[in-house]
C-alpha cells in the first residue's frame, strides 16, 4: 500500500519533469538550423540533420582550445575550493565561540550577499596593480575566491550536524588536529563536498562575466561560454553557432552531473554515523 502511494507521487513528478526537459529538446532541434530558420520555424523539426553548423562552430570558435581552457579553470577552481573550504569550515565550526573565528566567518560569508557587479571595477584595479589581469592564474584565483564563500557556508552548516564525539575519541588516542581532520572528519564530508563540487564546477564551466572581466582581452585565455557570448551584441546575433556551441558545452556538464549524483546519494547514505 505504502509503496504504491509513493510511486504515484514519483510518477507525477516524472511526468512534470518533461517540462524541464523541453528546452533541451528545443535547443537541440534548433542547433541544426540556419539563423533565419531558427527565427521563423523555431518549433519545427530541422529540414535535414545538418551537422555543418556543429563543424563550423567547432573550428571557427576553436573549441579544442576553449575546452582545454574551460577544463583547466574548472578543475583548478574546484580543487582549490574542495581543499581549502572544508578546512576552514571545520575549524570555524568547531571553534565558533572564538572571536577570531566569528570574524573570519563573517568575512568569508559576507560576499554571498554582495552583488558582484558592485565591486568588479575595484577588483580589476587590484588585479591590474598586482599584474594578474589577463592571466589564467589571475582568473583561477578570482574564480576560486568567488566560489569559496558559499562552499564554506554549506560545509559549515553540514559539520554542525556531525557529532563531535568521534573527533574527541581520536584526540584521546593522541591524534593531532590535522590528522583527525583528514582521517575522521573529511570522509564524513563526502556528500556535501560532492554537492559543492557539482555546484562550483558548473558555475566555473558556465561562467561568462568573470572570465570576460579578468581575461577578456586575452584570446588565448577565454573560456567556452564567453567565446559564444562575445558573438552577440546589442544589434547582431549568431544563433546558428551559439546553439550548437551550447549543446557542445552542455554535454560534458550533463554527463558530469549524472555521474556525480550517484555519489551525492550513496555518499549520504554511507555516512550512517550521522543522526
Amino acid at each position: 500500500m505504502e509503496r504504491s502511494r509513493l510511486t504515484k507521487g514519483t510518477v507525477i513528478t516524472l511526468i512534470i519533469s518533461i517540462l524541464w526537459l523541453f528546452p533541451l529538446i528545443l535547443i537541440f532541434i534548433n542547433s541544426f538550423k540556419s539563423d533565419s530558420e531558427i527565427l521563423n520555424h523555431f518549433l519545427e523539426l530541422p529540414k535535414k540533420l545538418d551537422f555543418s553548423y556543429y563543424a563550423e562552430t567547432w573550428t571557427k570558435f576553436g573549441f579544442p582550445k576553449l575546452i582545454a581552457n574551460t577544463l583547466l579553470y574548472t578543475v583548478c577552481t574546484v580543487l582549490i575550493v574542495v581543499l581549502l573550504a572544508p578546512l576552514a569550515a571545520y575549524y570555524l565550526e568547531r571553534h565558533k565561540k572564538e572571536r577570531r573565528c566569528r570574524i573570519a566567518f563573517s568575512l568569508i560569508i559576507l560576499p554571498i550577499m554582495v552583488p558582484f557587479q558592485s565591486y568588479m571595477i575595484s577588483l580589476t584595479r587590484i588585479l591590474g596593480n598586482i599584474g594578474l589581469n589577463n592571466t589564467k592564474t589571475g582568473y583561477i584565483l578570482v574564480s576560486a575566491g568567488l566560489c569559496m564563500p558559499l562552499a564554506v557556508f554549506m560545509i559549515h552548516g553540514y559539520i554542525n550536524t556531525i557529532p563531535i564525539e568521534l573527533e574527541e575519541s581520536a584526540y584521546i588516542d593522541g591524534a593531532g588536529k590535522v590528522r583527525t581532520y583528514f582521517s575522521i572528519v573529511l570522509p564524513l564530508l563526502v556528500p556535501i563536498l560532492t554537492t559543492v563540487v557539482v555546484l562550483d564546477a558548473l558555475a566555473t564551466w558556465n561562467d561568462v562575466i568573470t572570465n570576460q572581466l579578468v581575461v577578456g582581452s586575452n584570446e588565448a585565455a577565454i573560456n567556452m561560454q564567453n567565446a559564444l557570448y562575445m558573438k552577440f551584441s546589442a544589434q547582431t546575433s549568431d544563433w546558428s553557432h551559439a546553439l550548437p556551441g551550447t549543446v557542445m558545452s552542455m554535454v560534458p556538464s550533463l554527463i558530469f552531473f549524472i555521474f556525480m549524483q550517484k555519489y551525492i546519494i550513496s555518499g549520504a547514505t554511507s555516512g550512517a554515523v550521522k543522526g
Partner: protein, 441 residues
Amino acid sequence: MKRTFATVLAGTMAVTLLAGCGSSGGSTSSSGTQSSGTQTSGTQTSSGSAAASSGNVTLKVFDAMAYATDEYQTVIDQFEADHPGVTVEIQHAANDSNTILQSRFNSGDIPDVFLNEPGSSAQLYYEYAYDWAKDTDTLSKFNSDAVALGTDESGHVYGLPWTYETMALTYNVDCFNKAGITTLPVTMEELEQDCEKLKAAGIQPFAIAGKETWVLAQMSTHFIMDKSLDATGTVEGLESGKITFADLPHWQSFFKLLDLIKKYDSDKILETGWESSENELANGEAAIIHMGDWAQANYTKMNPDAKLAFLPVPVGDSADDATVLSSVGWLYMVYKDSPNLDLAKEFCEYVLTSEQGVKWMTEGVDAVPASNTHTEMSPSGDLPKDSQTYIQAGKTNGWIHTIAGSSFSDTVGPYIQGYLLGNYTADDVTQAFQEYFSSQG
C-alpha cells in the same frame, strides 16, 4: 568581542583604503612617462621586453562591435603581413562593451586602439585619447562632417570615424506595392491612410521593437530635432533651458505616431525585440519599423530577397520637414600614452582607409565608410545605398541620442513604453523628456 571586531574591521579598511589610494594614485600619475610602467602587466610585459630584443610588438585593439568579424580578420591578417613582427591582439567585446572597456582602463590594461560611439560615450575617454588635429594628411582622408563628430569645441580631434549610420522608419517595398502605396507619406495623416491600406491588404503596418528602450528613444529624437538648429544646437538649447519641449516644432507629432503604433502594431508591442522586429520586416510580415541601416546585414541574412527602403519620418506638414538622422557609428581612438603610438595610428588609418579596410566596411558590413579614399567601392544593400543618397542630397541631420547623455535611452524609453501601455499621458512623457534634458544642463 565588539571591540576586536571593530579593530579588525578598521584594520582591513585601512589596508584596503591604502590599496585603493595606491591604485588611484597609480593611475593619476599614469599620464606622464610612468604610464608605460604602470600598464606593463600581463601580456604587455612579455611583448614589451620582447619588442626591445627582436622587434616583436603586440598591438592591443579593443573592438566594441561584431560586424562581419570574418572579413575584419582578413584586414587584420593583411596588416600583420605588412608589418612583420607585429601581432594584433583584438578583443571583440560587442556585448557590454562599455563595461569591459571601463574595466580595462581601471586595471591599467589600456588598449592601444579602442572604439567608442561618438558623443557622450567618447567624451568619457577624451582625456586618454590621442589628438589627431595635427595629422592633417590623415584627416584629409575622411569626410569633414564625419571628423567633426570626434572633434571637441577647441578643435581637438579625438577619434577617426568608422562608417555612417543612418536611421529613420524603414519599410518593406513589396508590402507597400501590394497595398498600392505609390508615394511615401509626408504627414501623419497620410501615414495613417497608408496604414489602413496595408491593413486592408492583410499586412500588419508596424512591428516596432517596443521591448528595446533604445529603439523607442531613437525614434523619439526625430521629433525633438529642430532642423534650424541641427542635433547639437537642439540638444544645447534644451539642456541650457533656452528652448523647451513646448518650443519644439514637431514634438506633438510624436504622440500621433505613437497612437498610430498603438492602433496598427501587434497587441504585444512591448514584447517585440530588435531581432523579431527586423525579422518581421525582412520577411514582409510587417511593413514599417524604426531602425537604421546597420541592420542591413541582418536583413540580408533573414531574407536575402527583402527589398527595403527608408521612409523619412513624417514629423511635419511637408517632405522638407521629414527627417532622416545620420551619424558615425564608431570612433577609432588611440591611447595617447601607448608605447606603440605610431603603430596604433597606422593601424587605425589602415583599417579605415586602405582598400582592404574599405572592402570590409562596404562588402562585409554593408555600410558607407566615412573615409573618402576608395569611393569606387560602395555598399550593396538597399538601406546603405538609400542612406548614401540622403547624405549626398544633404537631407540628413545629426543624431541626438548619442549627444544627449549616456542614460538617455534608459531614462526616457520606459516612459514611451508607459505611453504605449496607457500608463502615462502625453504630458507625463513630455515632462520626463524635459526633466531629463534639464538635468543634463
